[in-house]
Symmetry: D2
Subunit: 415 residues, 4 copies
């Protein structure tokens, strides 16, 4: 009888883990911690189903990578077993460097940390533990491997990463319109001059993929209530860091304490192994547990933010195409200052405003190319005969204003 | 215990038939015949799953209509039980006038017949049988009823008809990208000044709906091989009619015989009941059975076309953005003339060319309006901030050329 | 670019046709005719979604066979590429011998014909056309091939045939409870002493499979209204044959005429090629078209049966555990004789009674064996610790009585 | 525009929250905490998808309750709007008393606490906050309301609770065989003499429901690896409590500290409001965060258990039909004592053995009754003609032995 590992996945059914090395990497504590890091942070406050973790996304992406490689091989493209395993490792670990609520975290406690760089650190560490067996995967991940298309499968505008996360996020949020036909797109992939391209038959699927991605951005990832929850979390962590810097005492897990009470930059990860190991101990649970306790902290800003976040009394958000009127913003701030007896700086924790920018397709980036029967290659933005992908490639900029609920209503013309 | 009828549907699960009148209409032979008329004609030659019938679409549309009416009522819009039943009858019967392979049929045997007009005739006949109980449904269907939005639910650019058929055709073809979130769109419907409009929250879903419709057109409804099969069928029927007109003997069911050997226009349906009753006896089975038998007819044109169609040896099709070169067309015709020993006119049965035109959204038609919180209404083509619906509203014109396989290869530069 | 054929399937998504020979067999007219033979005959009168054809089932079974073979190979069992293709051909063609409404047909027009034997004839004919390339498939199908487990995959109590049809029939009828986890069962298959067995981890899935099969029998295949429609059809064909034998004139397609006006037994298929070729021209369309025309035949029995069947005015059925009272049956017959002015024999066409028998699992047949870690093999009937499979193995016998609606009500105590 | 709340759910699509009171209850912190309590505890260690929370199950059950009530009302049974809302509240809150990992918790830190009693306490507290509006829901939940069938919908052998959790757990684990047709079962419900019964048409669905439940028990809820993880967690909490009782210092959130360092029984919840409020602050995050920190605690038993649990190095489990040999158990204990230098009592933390008992259907409990057309009622165990439900009603008893991995291998004959 065989010892192959099969993982049940609500999205794809059964997922095979085809090699022992992949299996051992999944079992490793660095990877197992992803069980405790939700893929979409606090999005479940809006879409309660969105509780899937980075573990699921990584496993799903590994599965799609295998399907893509098998499809390419069946078309006669030459990919060795070793390259297959390496590409699967690269995608399995591409997000292993994510911390809990990583966007909020990277804007507050560990400023300037980039999860891709940390993924690479984890891979290098694992490469040590596994006697160099991850070297090819690292080369693919870092785009240093000779076959460039393998890197493009891991990271490009039509990578396996996106194919999985669009479907998975769509599945768990219930926003079915974000679904893309990853199975069909994968079957349409070809390689031309060492570049990943799409057979012309797949052009409508690619259009649909770009539209679906755009829809998911505005309907889920940048949904105004999700934005509110994330900005509140970011402010909680900023405030906690501020208090820690001033020497205040804060309930913390040891791992969170380490990053809250020390100023640690990416270079410190390189110099001191302890930083990466402590980072590996940090997950959603550390952060949210602390927030729950901080509801009772004497600092008003911290406790009020934490209460609101825990009880889902989220800030009211408005998104518009033009910048907000500074007078209106000030009116809100004044209201907040009165309400909580705060100074100007602290009022900013309850009245936030900023820009959002997103483009469904980026023509400056590595393009998605369509391969025609006659051998011609065209950028999808040009190939699409009618759907204006070129328009979609222009970034959309919007402005948001986020205000604590209790300050609304006192100020006119918000709704 | 209750006598409510429940119908199992692969797409929506259980469908309730909420009133006795609806149940009796479904049981009526006029409606039961839809079991034998496939929704997508010969599309199953390309997508083998596409074998669902007009019966399924009608039942599914009735179901979505009920959901839409219930959603509107729950929002406080006033719709009486009688109006609900009438709207459900109108959508249930909106396609009851379809004949077998109706596009081919309407271009060959019963020229100029329009299935919507025939649907109305059937409804009027049923109204007689059911003592006037269908009058309100007929008024809604004919847009004579006071509440205009009920007609818009039955027929408009965002009607229940499209919501069902896009999903259903997508489901059965397996082209999952055509799926629209009918459930979500239905929940976003509002009524403003007696017009069906869409809440601004639904804007991305509407965009997606338009894109999905466009994709289904080019991927399924106008798929080049589907086109080929349908054009071949049209030619079969044209040839049969031509032979019948000349007094040739053709195997036929009595119902098909009636329409093949008589020239019957829409006005004849009004004058003589027998025409509608005979039409009601006609379905896919009559047509295809005859085609199978005609494989052995002495007329070469007819028998060759029928053999090719029955054995799925479909004409080769090419679609392009510009008209085809007349010289190339003539080269094919000459080849056909030689191959089968035909004259110029008859060669046309094996070499077809024409235009295709489609627009995903039609701004000249009744528009899809988005309702904003502040009460403003905007055409989706204007409301969509980035996706260029205005561009999609421009009709796309393409040209196709369809040639019997045996004539290809002899003529250069076709592929 | 590759020429591999992909088929969209509503049940499994994309299905690959991995070899050219398989592709050519699918394209062959013998196989293409399956597009016009519904898998479940008239079941759509009860479950309107049940309109899938034998084409779909054959393609789906081919797909599951490929999955099963790949899973076995990945566990180290030795199966050559040639054997894989042969097993896939065997399952693809296992039902190619089915005629339209085959149970009714085999009990009326072509008595004693067995569809498995006809499948074999078709295979042998194709083997000739394809220069002997189907020989191994024929050997597997006929259980003459050295590796017995390949035949068991094609035909046994846990064969690929059942795994596909249970799921597919469940999918299209909407009776979701009939779904089995074919993916899981396939992954649990092992080979022990050249026999297909199931890993002990799969025991609950096998139990569930047996229960699902039982449920589908009583809920779908032997559903009393389905039974009624099939028995009515059988009587239509019997009557038509009777009239034909007496020299009456009946509208017919040429293919149906051949079998209606000649008495053709299986041996005649062996002696005269024309019989098989004519059989290959016969499908649902021939039969149902004729039934529609026979509604106007002067013979009362035939015309009444055909009207009732076409308009779905099905006979009323009662199923019970004990035989029906002969007096009650006679009362119905007398009623029918009066109603239609028929003699005793002809009345039988409107009052039918017979037995039904089914067992969910058959312990006398080749058993389903469970393989334990320690190497022990146990019959599922013994292995199942609690669910009494042994009880399920006992055939259940029931009795049914089927009476034309107009005769009901006049006779007491039927409901 | 309306203010009705719609919740996206991966299992059922859109869920309506039909009344303001239901909406306010969902928004309440008591209910929102369920976002942080997974429905299946550590089951995700085996089925990674099983990360759905008690929030999802409660919302889903509320949805099915609404469907059941609407179906019953449409059949003419009299249920008022107030009763509908009350029944929906009762099912929404039926599990609100669950703590994190509740089985482990109830066997260690808060011994003897029963989550149903705590649910009732929460409901009573909410009843106070909402001015008595939950009284009818409380009566239904406690089976004190006049219409007994409403309580049976909330809690019985065929209650809405089971209909949701079987489907939901099946969906998220990916064990599709556990799916039940809740939609069909709900449509088959009738009321007879104030008792919930099932129409005879639903008998196969009920059989399938019982079989599915049995399958889910052995495949998921009592899966040996799930069992191992839960027993390990239970031991962690027992050890922590033991250390706390001895006055040892343990990292804790304040809420966990309260229950770890005080001995609190159910009566203390009645006497002191602080207990319930602190309990409401406790969730999975408190427990797992502490476990992660305890990996570095000086107590070997605690730290080893916590390391193993965090890194998913789970104890090896064996399940068998007979009790384990005491000699074998002792051999393992001795091995553990040597390995970790422990005394006899402490070794028990690494070598566990106990019984498991489960019956798919309980004939002693309130039975599931089938209602026949003639008005007869039969227990499903008797009604099922062939499937031996009576056998399934007998509880199955099994024995398990759970041993830390490092001790295996040293002792013979374990595998």
């Amino acid at each position: 009888m065989n010892k192959k590992k099969i993982i049940n996945d609500p999205v794809y059914g059964f997922i095979n883990v085809p090699t022992e090395l992949l299996f051992d990497l999944i079992e490793h504590p660095f990877f197992q911690r992803l069980h405790r890091i939700r893929q979409l942070g606090l999005t479940y406050y809006v879409y309660p189903g969105a509780i899937h973790t980075r573990f699921h996304h990584a496993i799903g992406a590994m599965h799609l990578m295998q399907e893509a490689l098998e499809s390419l091989k069946s078309k006669g493209y030459n990919i060795s077993d070793e390259e297959c395993e390496a590409a699967m490792i690269a995608i399995l670990l591409h997000d292993v460097g994510h911390g809990p609520f990583s966007h909020a975290l990277e804007h507050s406690i560990v400023k300037g940390l980039n999860h891709e760089e940390v993924s690479l650190l984890f891979m290098q560490k694992l490469n040590g533990e596994f006697n160099g067996k991850l070297q090819m995967a690292i080369d693919i991940f870092s785009d240093k491997y000779s076959k460039k298309f393998l890197h493009q499968l891991v990271s490009s505008q039509l990578d396996i990463d996106r194919l999985d996360y669009l479907n998975r996020d769509s599945f768990f949020t219930g926003v079915v319109e974000g679904m893309v036909s990853s199975e069909r797109i994968i079957k349409m992939l070809e390689i031309e001059n060492d570049n990943l391209v799409v057979h012309e038959k797949g052009i409508y699927s690619i259009e649909k993929f770009i539209i679906a991605r755009r829809l998911m951005y505005w309907q889920v990832y940048l949904h105004k209530t999700v934005l509110s929850a994330e900005k509140m979390l970011e402010n909680v962590l900023k405030r906690a860091k501020e208090l820690a810097n001033k020497g205040n005492d804060l309930f913390c897990t040891p791992a969170l304490h380490h990053f809250l009470y020390n100023t640690i930059a990416f270079k410190d990860f390189l110099n001191d192994d302890n930083n990466l190991n402590t980072y590996a101990a940090l997950d959603d649970y550390d952060v949210f547990t602390s927030i729950k306790v901080w509801q009772n902290h004497p600092d008003t800003v911290l406790s009020e933010l934490c209460k609101a976040l825990t009880h889902r009394e989220l800030f009211k958000v408005r998104i518009q195409n033009d910048p907000f009127n500074p007078e209106q913003i000030n009116a809100f701030k004044n209201e907040v200052k009165n309400l909580y007896g705060l100074n100007d700086d602290d009022a900013n924790y309850f009245v936030l405003h900023d820009e959002l920018e997103n483009s469904a397709y980026n023509s400056d980036d590595e393009k998605i190319h369509i391969l025609y029967k006659n051998g011609r290659l065209l950028d999808i933005a040009t190939a699409s005969d009618q759907l204006n992908i070129a328009t979609l490639a222009k970034p959309v900029k919007k402005y948001f204003l986020c205000v604590v609920k209790s300050a609304i209503g006192k100020v006119k013309q918000y709704n």
